[in-house]
């Protein structure tokens, strides 16, 4: 009780919102502890009652890398850039891609799987997709350890750029994932079609992202269109930062960044505008 008297309570006005809702990110900041707890809960619960536990974070990208190496590296003999061995070439791309696709998967269902919370309690709903996306970082870090092993094994030395570039490209992955996740999770509240469309969408998206192949294989006249996919920028960025191949930040990358930000901002607005109907339609 003593605590209550310390600060003057603020008055909240509740009224029907009209027009475009304000982003009101301050609210999200007030609930930052909840974001932290939700991330912690997802991590804590993710590999409960599994036999292999967190090893799954390694098994998935490593097995994919092995299959890719066999099919695309050995059988199809796809070229990599600058003499980089195929396993490390694909694994470097699989890392951000894994983060991205897992984030979409978790976050698109974040509102519907926490139905109880959404329909009973007030909190900024942004917390849920945000926490889902961020919780994927743990798996990313675990899988990254394998990459360090591969770098040592294949004697690839990243340039000094990696120190600033890697965090920035990681941030770009998160921004892209969050932007798409906001759209998907909000749509999913009303139309559960998202659950069925998502696996197909992720698979399609993987094909148009330079994971198994190099983006230099795309003809020059298609490059601009190709780079409209922000994940293409992310993957190229990872390869440039870690393996030193590609051009580094160029026009194509800025295009990717622009698209990412556009998706994020539009996603935020869409989410905030749909938010008021969540409790009624979920």
């Amino acid at each position: 009780m003593t605590e209550l008297t310390k600060h003057e309570p603020t008055t909240i006005y509740i009224k029907p919102s009209t027009g475009l809702a304000a982003l009101n990110l301050r609210d999200l900041w007030l609930y930052r502890e909840l974001v932290y707890f939700m991330i912690w809960r997802e991590i804590k619960v993710r590999y409960k009652q599994t036999m292999l536990g967190a090893a799954w974070a390694i098994i998935q990208p490593v097995l994919t890398m092995i299959v890719f190496t066999f099919i695309f590296g050995r059988v199809a003999k796809l070229p990599t850039d600058g003499n980089i061995p195929y396993p490390i070439f694909s694994y470097t791309a699989l890392l951000p891609w894994g983060l991205f696709s897992a984030a979409l998967n978790q976050a698109s269902r974040s509102l519907t799987s926490n139905q109880n919370m959404v329909s009973k309690i007030y909190f900024p709903r942004l917390v849920l997709p945000l926490a889902s996306v961020l919780s994927g970082l743990v798996d990313f870090v675990i899988a990254f350890v394998i990459l360090i092993g591969l770098l040592i094994y294949y004697r690839v030395m990243p340039s000094i750029n990696v120190l600033w570039a890697l965090p920035l490209f990681l941030l770009l992955t998160i921004i892209t994932a969050l932007g798409v996740a906001l759209w998907l999770s909000a749509i999913n509240v009303k139309y559960r079609d998202v659950n069925y469309a998502l696996p197909f969408m992720t698979q399609f998206w993987q094909f148009i992202t330079p994971i198994a192949y190099s983006s230099t294989l795309i003809p020059a006249k298609w490059q601009i269109i190709y780079m409209l996919n922000p994940m293409a920028g992310v993957v190229n960025g990872f390869r440039w930062a870690l393996l030193g191949i590609g051009n580094g930040p160029d026009a194509g990358l800025w295009l990717s960044v622009g698209i990412s930000l556009l998706v994020l901002v539009s996603g935020l607005y869409y989410f905030r505008n749909m938010e008021k109907t969540f409790a009624d339609t979920i």
Partner: protein, 430 residues
């Protein structure tokens, strides 16, 4: 005194067509038909008729023209039947859902106990869930640290605090969930029916806690079907009926008004479509009637004659473990008895699993049972420990006339809700 809550012309409109469409999805056949209709629906959507163009969506006002002010430190009770808009009002006040029209200003943090245990994860331990749930309810972790021991103490789960809650009994789970919520310290507390669950001992404890909260000078809004809890904890109450505020008065008066008002006068209550929440499916109450010895539907029964209570209902799908029954309570809100149609083991054997169809459960209440006054009949249809399909704590009320009952030669009020004709023997011993 400052105003803690000020509600002005508040209204909330829902689409009911949409809800019913979802509800029909119970049958596989509907899903198939619906799938085949997809091209038609998409075509309609493209033509701008809306994706739900196929069904007639009608709008219903769950709340309409609600205005009231509440001063800081007051405890306000909210009573009304199922579907009267109580929960909608609380949801708006706690910002879960937005009003369609009107404004509310709320001074201070609103903590809601709309449902305890929200956000509990079965895989997490009791300790972890306390922190998780606290954060969801808007507590800071420092605040939870400070109150942790108190919460564990209150919940009585003690040594199991580091066990995943999926291993808890439902009672333990509930106690822990309520304990976290009860230790919130918001300026305004919104409580909805949390006390309907748990054993009697724990309910007493919860009511005690609620009383403490009220004593500490916090503003509390309390929704319950339990009239004695409302009477005990609140000084003032509002009565909602079909989304409208029909009465605001000191609690005793408001409760009296609520219990004796409404459809109850005729001795029969018929549920119309919109009175039945979608969530009660596949159970659908049809009507409840009070009949006298001659089988006539009556509002006033004679204490000296037996009474029949008849509850008619429809099952849209088979239900197993079903029990359909009633609560009888006095106008003061004290329970007199609770009885279910399958209380008898042999009866349960035969009717525990019921096929779809229309049923009537009849109950005979013997003569010489009721005392003078008005009684309230509540109904409940549930499968024990599985689900409560439907409940209405005040489905019907009726009067009792005591002419001819034992002791009526003395014109006085007899204490107690029952007036049995007991077998007295008088013996001269000396």
């Amino acid at each position: 005194m400052t105003t803690a809550i000020s509600v002005k012309n508040l209204g909330k409109q829902y689409k009911i067509g949409a809800a019913q469409q979802k509800f029909q999805y119970n049958m596989f056949r509907d899903v198939i038909v619906d799938t085949l209709m997809t091209p038609v629906r998409i075509f309609r959507a493209l033509r701008g008729q809306g994706i739900r163009g196929a069904t007639h969506t009608s709008m219903i006002w769950a709340l309409k023209d609600i205005s009231f002010d509440l001063e800081e430190g007051k405890v306000l009770g909210i009573v009304g039947r199922n579907g009267a808009g109580k929960s909608t009002l609380l949801k708006i006040l706690s910002r879960v859902t937005e009003p369609t029209v009107g404004t509310v200003s709320v001074r201070g943090r609103v903590g809601s106990l709309l449902e305890v245990g929200t956000g509990f994860h079965p895989e997490l331990t009791g300790r972890e869930n306390i922190y998780m749930n606290g954060a969801i309810l808007g507590m800071k972790s420092a605040e939870i640290d400070r109150k942790f021991d108190e919460i564990v103490d209150f919940s009585e789960v003690g040594q199991f605090i580091d066990t995943p809650v999926k291993r808890y009994s439902s009672g333990m789970y509930l106690r822990l969930a309520f304990a976290v919520a009860a230790h919130l310290e918001p300026e305004i507390l919104v409580v909805d029916e949390v006390l309907a669950v748990g054993d009697a001992e724990f309910q007493r404890k919860c009511l005690g806690k609620m009383g403490d909260v009220a004593q500490q000078g916090r503003t509390v809004l309390f929704v319950s079907h339990n009239m004695s809890a409302i009477l005990r904890l609140t000084q003032e109450a509002i009565v909602l009926k079909k989304g409208q505020l029909i009465k605001r008065a000191p609690t005793a008066e408001a409760v009296d008004y609520y219990l004796s008002s409404g459809q109850a006068e005729s001795g029969e209550r018929i549920w119309s479509m919109e009175d039945v929440p979608v969530t009660s499916a596949p159970f659908k109450p049809v009507a409840i009637r009070i009949k006298d010895r001659g089988g006539k539907v009556v509002d006033t029964v004679r204490s000296t004659e037996p009474v029949t209570v008849e509850w008619e209902y429809q099952l849209d799908a088979p239900i197993t473990g079903l029990r359909v029954g009633m609560y009888l309570s006095s106008m003061r809100g004290e329970y007199i008895f609770t009885s279910f149609d399958t209380d008898d083991a042999a009866q349960f054997e035969q009717f525990g699993a019921r096929k779809a169809g229309r049923y009537i459960s009849r109950c005979h209440i013997p003569a010489d049972f009721f005392n003078e006054g008005r009684y309230s009949l509540g109904v409940n249809a549930s499968s024990f420990a599985v689900r409560r399909y439907f409940m209405d704590e005040n489905a019907l009320s009726f009067n009792v006339d005591i002419s001819g009952a034992p002791g009526t030669q003395w014109p006085e009020v007899r204490q107690g809700p029952v007036r049995p004709r007991l077998d007295w023997k008088i013996e001269k011993v000396d």
